[in-house]
């Protein structure tokens, strides 16, 4: 059989340029992946788990959907304002914030800052190894954090923002406890003492968000006054 006479351009015209094989940046240490460990085939090991998760979840949801009816109130009426008028539960933390701070701060500034902070989390590149807060200069760190925490608490008390004050105070207390017990190696005290600063900030944020949302959902009645969820009010 005759050979193909048409020459491909690859060998004849190929430009000889240096080819970059690897690009080494200054900070590569963090990207080094450790031992990959034993591996399993995605098919079937991962797929079977996904399938089971799908089935269990759907079955559970069907059962709940059979017994728990979605609420349907009367036709929308712009002239009849319910008291209190509440947003969906995931925005009730914001609505609770609006009770304490001016609309621009509670409704625009704080949510924007939260979203920006969330987006920038991976780009801070601080303490990528997750060193414990008390690993270096513990007394100095404690002093700085306590000053910040006390100033924050004073500010919150000034605005009567007790829904934020309480979880903040709680977290500050936990922080001090973890400082005094930082030598502990085991138990919950030991694990608390090994947490980095980022852990404390995120946990504080979640505690405040959960507290705000729970209070907004269950403890607010007419005129955004405090009510007990087991009490009844003529709404």
């Amino acid at each position: 059989m005759e050979k193909n006479k048409i020459e491909t351009g690859l060998s004849s015209d190929a430009k000889k340029e240096p080819r970059r094989v690897v690009f080494v940046t200054k900070k590569t240490s963090a990207k080094v992946v450790g031992e990959r460990g034993p591996q399993l085939m995605t098919f079937p090991h991962l797929l079977i788990r996904e399938a089971i998760a799908f089935q269990v979840l759907v079955i559970a949801m069907v059962i709940v959907a059979l017994v728990w009816d979605a609420p349907l109130e009367r036709l929308a009426n712009p002239l009849l304002t319910p008291n209190p008028a509440k947003a969906p539960w995931y925005f009730l933390g914001l609505q609770e914030l609006l009770h304490f701070f001016p609309p621009f701060v509670a409704g625009i500034l704080i949510p924007t800052l939260v979203v920006v902070a969330l987006i920038f989390i991976p780009y801070f590149n601080v303490n990528i190894e997750g060193r414990a807060l008390w690993a270096y200069h513990p007394a100095q760190h404690l002093r700085t954090i306590l000053i910040v925490a006390l100033m924050l608490l004073a500010l919150l008390a000034g605005f009567h923002a007790w829904t934020i004050f309480v979880p903040t105070a709680l977290l500050a207390t936990l922080l001090v406890i973890s400082y005094t017990g930082r030598q502990a190696r085991k138990g919950w005290l030991g694990s608390l003492g090994s947490k980095p600063l980022s852990w404390w900030i995120m946990t504080w944020f979640i505690a405040v968000a959960v507290c705000l949302t729970a209070v907004g959902t269950f403890f607010r009645g007419p005129g955004w006054s405090w009510v007990w969820p087991w009490g009844t009010y003529a709404g």
């Binding site: 450790g34 799908f54 991976p122």
Partner: protein, 250 residues
């Protein structure tokens, strides 16, 4: 019985038709198991192998998968609900009543959609916090974290736009309260609110806009970003496995 079924299945997989559809025979070797992933359009973004540790429940609680499963459930129930829904006032409310009293299993359909929606908001939040505590945002996963944050916002907007659609008192006032906050934005607040509502109050235009956002724009955006999110998990080297997982406990 079981073995009979198994051999029947095996024979089926050896047939020409099966092979023409799936581009492979039975997945009984690692080669064909790999083919099952990258030879399938719907699975090809997945890695062929996964670390054993990343399959453990504690590694993820399957929260990402659960969020996606809820999205699929919402997609299916949402399309079924669209058959019975008119985005107009007060027809929208009448459609809710129809679901309740006329449509077979209408209430069940609406219950399932609503339940999955609330669960999805919850699951996505939990997913994000869990990823944070696992350090899953660290290099090289930075960008996928950002995609995740955008997906969280999309989930919230999807849920919120859907909240108005029943057009009852609950929906109307929840959206009125929420959109009033936008007015607090300096300079452009009222304009943004007008754009979103198609007017100065929550009315028929707002219902139509929220409907279009809810059934077309936001799901489409979510679908694209979910695709990127999944694909990047693989490209960035899989789930974050902490050194502590070595001994199987945290």
């Amino acid at each position: 019985m079981a073995s009979c079924f198994q051999s029947a299945l095996h024979n089926l997989r050896e047939t020409k038709v099966w092979k023409s559809v799936f581009r492979r025979g039975p997945a009984n070797t690692n080669r064909t198991r790999s083919l099952a992933i990258f030879g399938n359009l719907f699975l090809h973004w997945m890695p062929v192998k996964v670390r054993e540790k990343s399959l453990r429940v504690r590694a993820s609680y399957y929260l990402g998968s659960i969020s996606f499963i809820l999205f699929i459930v919402l997609f299916v129930t949402g399309i079924l609900l669209m058959f019975y829904y008119h985005p107009a006032a007060p027809n929208a409310y009448r459609d809710m009543k129809d679901l309740q009293f006329v449509v077979a299993n209408g209430v069940f359909l609406r219950n399932l959609h609503r339940l999955a929606a609330h669960l999805m908001v919850f699951a996505v939040f939990w997913h994000m916090f869990h990823v944070f505590y696992r350090g899953g945002y660290k290099p090289p996963h930075e960008f996928n974290w950002v995609v995740g944050v955008v997906l969280l916002l999309l989930t919230l907007f999807l849920s919120y736009t859907g909240y108005l659609l029943p057009w009852d008192q609950l929906a109307f006032w929840a959206v009125t309260v929420g959109t009033n906050i936008i007015s607090a934005m300096p300079f452009i607040g009222h304009k943004v609110r007008f754009l979103l509502l198609g007017g100065n109050i929550v009315g028929e235009n707002a219902l139509l806009r929220f409907y279009v956002l809810h059934v077309v724009i936001l799901p489409l955006a979510a679908f694209v970003l979910i695709g990127i999110h999944f694909w990047r998990v693989q490209k960035d080297g899989g789930l974050t496995v902490k050194p502590k997982d070595e001994d199987g406990k945290e």
